[in-house]
């Protein structure tokens, strides 16, 4: 064997493992001696930004995480909330940005696989996938290839495992030219008394490895350094993992079958840093030690070293602590599903992770300090300087308002995403009752009257201009979208994508966004129950727009009350809820029509948001409303056009814009607004309740006819709207 675990640990080697001098000193202190190579690798991945959250932890701690309905907040594989009847919804969002840029199909596919495992490892059956995507400018030579591969990868994985992909979001902006964002979210359904956690317990209990074999996938950090220790280093280390959704599907079914028994003590997926982080989390979480015999680890390739086995990121693997003596019973389940099953070790009372390979101890690390004494940084930050606000009167009106509306809905930023979602199986499991295209996706809680509403949102251009307002707005938009289908928003997960945290201005963006999120979550009683941080999204010193993607989840007690954005009948009254001031700062109108990102984002009035939202929800709940749509990107006219297109029915709009220029009134992005479509005979009651609740509501038009008509002088036929809306992405993607 040419591999040498006792190789001299040089300064250079430490550096190649990404550990600072201070971090290495901590490592020496914890061990009381020089680490072996395997140990160095373990410290290096456990203390990486990705696993340790060393730059973000102090700030994440400020987020509200509790509510009466929160069963498990951050700290577990995913967040868990109570939806009544002993049922729970388990959900989380995670990034797979860098791998997706290198290899879009596999990067995105394995991102979906990873987030599924975080959810089903807790005992949930995954019921919905979401995806939040950010690409560079459409003109950038790589964008088409990346979009094409990412979407195929998300579909390729989700479709095969049989979990519907029901929604998401897609942005284009040059700040993502060199760093696309691929954030995948999964939502699962569990029984409250069958939720599984990762803390190991029971000295002597067997530790089981199940799933795919371990290969040399994605071994980071010390690529070059450790290559010296293998005989033929050539082609030994593919940097991209290939997903195997077939195995994942079997793993889901096998794990759920095992979970239906009483054999499991603890279970944890092997995510980033594979066997290392899963075992350290399980052991330290339970205050116990693990002793592994690495010879027992199922291996895909010959001659794998302990270092490689511990750092491999091979997909579709899980670690399970079983009750004693249940191995044979458990193995029978995994045999049925044709999955590897290996007892690789036992729980000890040492508190150490002790690894043996070919009869020799190759690592022996106390897990508690490894997990708890991880570095934590208060990185210096400068808050983003306030921008000058923009008076709508200083924004030129379009020469032709009709053309402007068509240009907007036909732009990359607002056009239909049907090219994307048609590649996703949106209906498998037969419980999808609101598909992509509306405000929130809605999936029934199988076999009940209830339904889960899900929305992912973030407006990065707002976050860039003003991180605090942007952070607030991202949270609020998911809340509004969930409200707009009639559901009660319950909690969020987040995926915080930022540039290099070692730059104070980037850290300032991070701190600002967290501050805004915190305020919104508190005001709306809408806590953060899980999340993920992705830093260093940066090329040549240029960071991405700050992108705190939020995934919100809500519940509809009676799914038959759900509404969509499509008015159901002609001659319904269209009502606008909320105040319109014509805020054009950092709006899409400004960006698309003027090529500018000037100004400040629309301020979010959290009390007003709550009041307006609660009002809208109460009216939907009382079955007073035929359709509802919140007003966001592109403003009022875009929202109205979207409703008309969804219904394939015309409408006649009259806007009372007063002294606000019509283009500002029509395209301004003031927050806290909804459009309701209501039957004539219900309009009075609805307006009365609004008065009682102190909500501003005004009539702006009526449905019917074959044209979208504005102020009697602008007429666009519905087919024209639909074609314009659909064309951009379909044309863009069909040019080879």
């Amino acid at each position: 064997m040419t591999w040498n675990n006792t190789i001299e640990i040089t300064k250079q080697l430490v550096k190649e493992h990404g550990l600072s001098d201070d971090e290495y000193a901590r490592c020496l202190k914890i061990l009381g001696r020089t680490p072996t190579l395997t140990e160095l690798g373990i410290f290096s991945v456990m203390w990486s930004e990705h696993c340790s959250y060393k730059s973000s932890k102090v700030h994440l701690k400020t987020l509200p995480t509790k509510a009466a309905w929160v069963i498990h907040g951050p700290g577990e594989n995913a967040g868990v909330i109570d939806i009544g009847d002993n049922q729970a919804i388990i959900f989380k969002m995670e990034s797979h940005n860098h791998p997706s840029y290198i290899e879009p199909y596999q990067g995105a596919a394995t991102g979906v696989g990873g987030i599924l495992r975080d959810v089903f490892t807790m005992g949930a059956r995954p019921i919905a996938n979401m995806n939040a995507l950010r690409f560079g400018s459409p003109e950038h030579p790589k964008t088409r290839h990346l979009l094409s591969g990412v979407v195929a990868g998300i579909g390729g994985y989700g479709n095969c495992v049989g979990v519907p992909t029901v929604g998401g979001e897609t942005n284009f902006h040059p700040s993502y030219d060199g760093n696309i964002l691929v954030n995948a979210m999964n939502v699962g359904l569990a029984t409250q008394d069958k939720i599984f956690l990762s803390a190991a317990a029971g000295i002597g209990n067997p530790v089981i490895y199940v799933g795919s074999k371990t290969g040399r996938d994605g071994i980071h950090g010390a690529t070059m350094a450790s290559a010296e220790f293998t005989e033929d280093s050539e082609e030994k280390r593919p940097t991209v993992q290939v997903g195997d959704p077939f195995t994942e599907k079997l793993l889901i079914e096998a794990c759920l079958e095992l979970m239906a028994t009483d054999m499991i003590v603890a279970i944890q997926d092997m995510g980033a840093a594979g066997l290392t982080s899963s075992s350290v989390e399980m052991a330290s979480g339970g205050g116990v030690g693990f002793a592994f015999n690495l010879d027992m680890v199922p291996q895909r390739e010959e001659g794998m070293t302990p270092y490689e086995m511990m750092l491999s990121e091979s997909q579709e693997r899980m670690l399970i602590v079983l009750k004693p003596g249940r191995e044979a019973e458990a193995k029978a389940i995994f045999d049925k599903w044709d999955l590897d099953f290996a007892v690789i070790g036992i729980i000890t009372d040492t508190g150490n992770l002790t690894l043996t390979f070919k009869g020799e101890v190759v690592a022996d690390i106390p897990t508690q300090p490894l997990a708890d004494n991880a570095p934590e940084y208060k990185r210096p930050f400068v808050m983003t300087a306030p921008k000058a606000s923009l008076d709508p009167k200083d924004v030129p009106a379009p020469s032709d308002l009709k053309q402007a509306l068509l240009t907007m809905i036909g732009s990359p930023h607002l056009c239909s995403r049907d090219w994307i979602w048609q590649q996703y199986d949106m209906q498998v499991m037969a419980d999808t009752i609101q598909k992509p295209g509306g405000d929130a996706a809605v999936v029934r809680v199988h076999g009940t009257n209830k339904a889960v509403a899900i929305s992912t949102d973030c407006t990065p251009r707002y976050c860039y201009a003003d991180p605090v307002e942007g952070g607030k707005q991202a949270v609020v938009e998911t809340w509004r979208n969930i409200t707009a289908v009639g559901a009660t928003p319950l909690a969020i997960t987040d995926c915080l994508n930022f540039g290099n945290p070692e730059r104070p201005e980037i850290m300032g963006q991070f701190v600002g966004c967290i501050e805004g999120m915190r305020e919104a979550c508190i005001a709306l009683d809408y806590p953060v129950v899980s999340g993920n941080v992705s830093l260093y999204n940066e090329t040549n010193g240029t960071g991405i727009h700050p992108t705190p993607a939020i995934g919100g989840v809500g519940i509809l007690k009676d799914s038959s009350k759900m509404v969509t954005i499509a008015p159901k009948n002609a001659e319904e009254i269209l009502l606008l809820v909320g105040d319109t001031k014509g805020h054009l700062g950092v709006s899409l109108y400004l960006y698309i029509m003027q090529g500018s990102e000037k100004g400040t984002p629309p301020p979010v009035d959290l009390a007003l948001e709550k009041k307006n939202g609660d009002y809208v929800r109460s009216q939907i709940d009382a079955r007073m409303i035929s359709a509802c749509h919140d007003v966001s990107d592109g403003g009022l006219l875009v929202a109205l056009a979207e409703m008309a297109m969804a219904a394939k029915m015309g409408m006649n709009i009259t806007l009372n814009n007063g002294d606000i220029p019509l283009h500002a009134y029509g395209f301004g992005e003031d927050q806290g607004r909804y459009i309701l479509s209501v039957a004539q005979d219900k309009a009075d009651d609805i307006l009365n309740s609004a008065k009682l609740m102190g909500v501003s509501v005004q009539k702006i038009g009526q449905t019917g006819g074959n044209d979208f008509m504005l102020n009697d002088n602008i007429t666009i036929s519905i087919p024209d709207l639909l074609d314009t809306h659909r064309n951009w992405m379909n044309n863009y993607m069909n040019i080879d």
Binding site: A152, G155, G156, N159, C160, V161, G162, D244, P245, F246, T247, K249, L250, K336, W337, D338, W421, Q422, Q423, Y424, D425, M426, Q427, V428, M429, A430, T432, I433, R444, S559, S560
Partner: protein, 229 residues
């Protein structure tokens, strides 16, 4: 009416099919894991959609060689009824129970959307509850639904009235634009010569309640009940 649903590794529309059959027949189908070769006496065997064996090698290829499939073939040979939806259709062509093959969609992309189907022949156990030439809307969700058969086979299918469903536009015309995947003659579903086996790419089991967006799939299951009772 007694039914059975076969589950292969990575079948994923099995639950949808089980629910549809239970809803319509009033009885829970027998659920048969692919390694189990004891299929009880049933009137109908359903091969559900999904990605059996990951769709690796060729869609349906490995499932078609699975031990349970031999029993399905025996059931069909005795004149028993068999339906294959989506991946089930791919399995049926791989076994040879139905002619032709399902190739990669012309666009090379997975396609999930509602399509219009024209009922070509309502004199079959799977279509009798529809009117001839009725246009129904049913969702598709597949990567390999591009039906191929050689000219002689196609001619025979057409002549013998064995095309059950065809992709059509809103006006009921089998145009190129209405063809989502490149299938020969816009074929969406076919039946066997003895009319006891049907394979189709679209998913009627996904459209049997208003909450799912429509009920055009119900007729398919009602037809089977009519035929068996």
């Amino acid at each position: 009416m007694k039914t059975a649903v076969i589950i292969f590794p990575a079948s994923n529309c099995d639950r949808d099919m089980i629910i549809a059959l239970e809803k319509i027949t009033g009885h829970k189908p027998h659920i048969i894991w692919h390694q189990n070769t004891n299929i009880p006496e049933v009137d109908l065997i359903a091969l559900p959609g999904g990605f059996s064996f990951g769709d690796y090698l060729r869609c349906g290829a490995m499932a078609a060689r699975s031990p349970v499939t031999k029993k399905v073939i025996e059931h069909a040979d005795r004149g028993g009824k068999v339906i294959g939806i989506c991946n089930g259709f791919q399995i049926l062509t791989e076994t040879g129970l139905l002619p032709g093959a399902l190739m990669r969609n012309e666009s090379l992309k997975f396609i999930c959307k509602d399509v219009n189907l024209r009922v070509e022949n309502n004199d079959t156990p799977f279509t009798n509850a529809y009117k001839k030439d009725q246009i129904i809307t049913i969702p598709i969700a597949h990567h390999d639904g591009n039906y191929f058969a050689d000219e002689d086979t196609l001619a025979a299918l057409e002549e013998e009235g064995r095309v059950a469903f065809r992709y059509v536009d809103d006006k009921g015309q089998p145009t190129k634009d209405a063809n989502p995947n490149g299938s020969r003659n816009n074929i969406a579903g076919i039946i066997s010569r003895r009319k006891n086996i049907l394979g189709m790419m679209p998913h009627p089991e996904r459209l049997i309640e208003d909450a799912q967006g429509g009920t055009d799939g119900l007729g398919f299951f009602k037809s089977i009940i009519n035929a068996i009772n």
